[in-house]
Amino acid sequence: MNKKKLLIIDIVSKSLNINNKKINEKTNLQNLEEWDSLGMLSVMSALDKKFKGSINVSSFDKVKTVADIEKLIK
């Protein structure tokens, strides 16, 4: 797994307040109980902060996996 994916997993798990072992690059995030509207806003906010606005947040509602998030980073 590349560094960027590991960083995304770290951000997602911290934002959702879950153990990072619960997520890998293939995990369907939409199946996580914590991946609700507030959880998604936390993740979007943290990613936007980390990647300094270079993430295409407007396509975020289609995100299912960490790999999908990686594709949104410009």
Partner: protein, 299 residues
């Protein structure tokens, strides 16, 4: 001839404490502890009437009513006509409704300003009133965010320029991100939170920065920024994106009051002496449409 804001009043129904096993998480993100919900037999006209009564004798001179709402009593006639009658204001009056949401105050303000500049009216009542609770049932998590409310802003003539430089933005391709539509014959409110959050993160700072550049200003020219009080997470992210702490926040005990959130915030900031008369303020409303309105005022 120019226009100025003479007075702002508002009415909020009593606090509605909500209960949820996820309260801590919700509060952390929304920043909202209580919302305000109207009584079952009340609507936008009743709330607006209560807000307007606080203007007392100033109501006598009103010669225009602009009523911003998306939850009107009827599809027709307009709320402004009903309010004119309820307030017993004389018949020589201009009345109009504007169907706009959280950016509605800026749109209403631009109409009020234009009416005065074009000598169509001299004393204008801009009313913002919405009762989203009518369309948000107990299953809908938006009940933790939106409040019913009304505000009444009185505009008068002025020799000095107090309201200046507008900017508007609309992306209609996202019209269904915040919508009231029929589901199984019941009209329901729905909001795509991620769509709206993404729009806010990307477009609001971009449009404010474009505005500042266009009019050759920077945030140091303003005492305070009054942005739509959407939620804590949105306001904190806008502070980060705009690199400023000057964004006023007053949402904990009020909730998201849609088009009234900016006038309510200005009134409360004046009361708390965070701002004073003649301060320069930047106002920005954003939401339903999806749309944005920006204007500068000297209060």
């Amino acid at each position: 001839m120019f226009s100025k804001i003479d007075s702002i009043e508002y009415y909020l129904p009593p606090r509605n404490k909500f209960f949820s096993k996820h309260f801590k998480k919700i509060y952390e993100k929304t920043g909202i502890k209580n919302t305000r919900i109207k009584k079952l037999n009340e609507d936008v006209i009743d709330l607006a009437y209560r807000a307007c009564l606080k203007l007392k004798s100033k109501l006598k001179k009103i010669d225009a009513i602009i009523f911003v709402t998306q939850t009107p009593r009827y599809l027709l006639p307009s709320c402004s006509c009903i309010l004119q009658n309820k307030l017993n204001i004389n018949h020589s009056i201009y009345t109009v409704d504007i169907n706009m949401g959280c950016s509605g105050y800026i749109y209403g303000l631009s109409v009020a300003d234009s009416l005065i500049k074009n000598n169509i009216a001299n004393n204008i009542l801009l009313v913002c009133s919405d009762t989203y609770s009518k369309y948000i049932d107990q299953e809908n998590t938006n009940k933790y965010i939106f409040s019913d409310s009304a505000s009444a802003t009185l505009f008068k003539k002025s020799n000095k320029k107090n309201i200046y430089d507008y900017s508007f933005f609309t992306n209609g391709s996202k019209y269904n991100s915040i919508i009231i539509k029929k589901e199984k014959n019941i009209e329901k409110f729905s909001m795509n939170g991620t769509d709206v959050f993404a729009f806010t993160l990307e477009q609001v700072p971009l449009n404010i920065n474009k505005y500042l550049k266009k009019y050759k200003r920077n945030l140091n020219n303003y005492k305070q920024l009054f942005l739509h009080q959407a939620s804590n997470v949105i306001l904190e992210n806008l502070k980060r994106k705009l690199k400023t702490q000057k964004i006023y926040k007053d949402i904990k005990d009020i909730g998201n009051t849609t088009s009234s959130s900016i006038p309510i915030s200005i009134k409360n900031a004046l009361k708390k002496k965070i701002i004073k008369k003649n301060d320069n303020l930047l106002l920005c409303g954003f939401g339903v449409g999806l749309s944005i309105g920006i204007v500068s005022i000297k209060i």
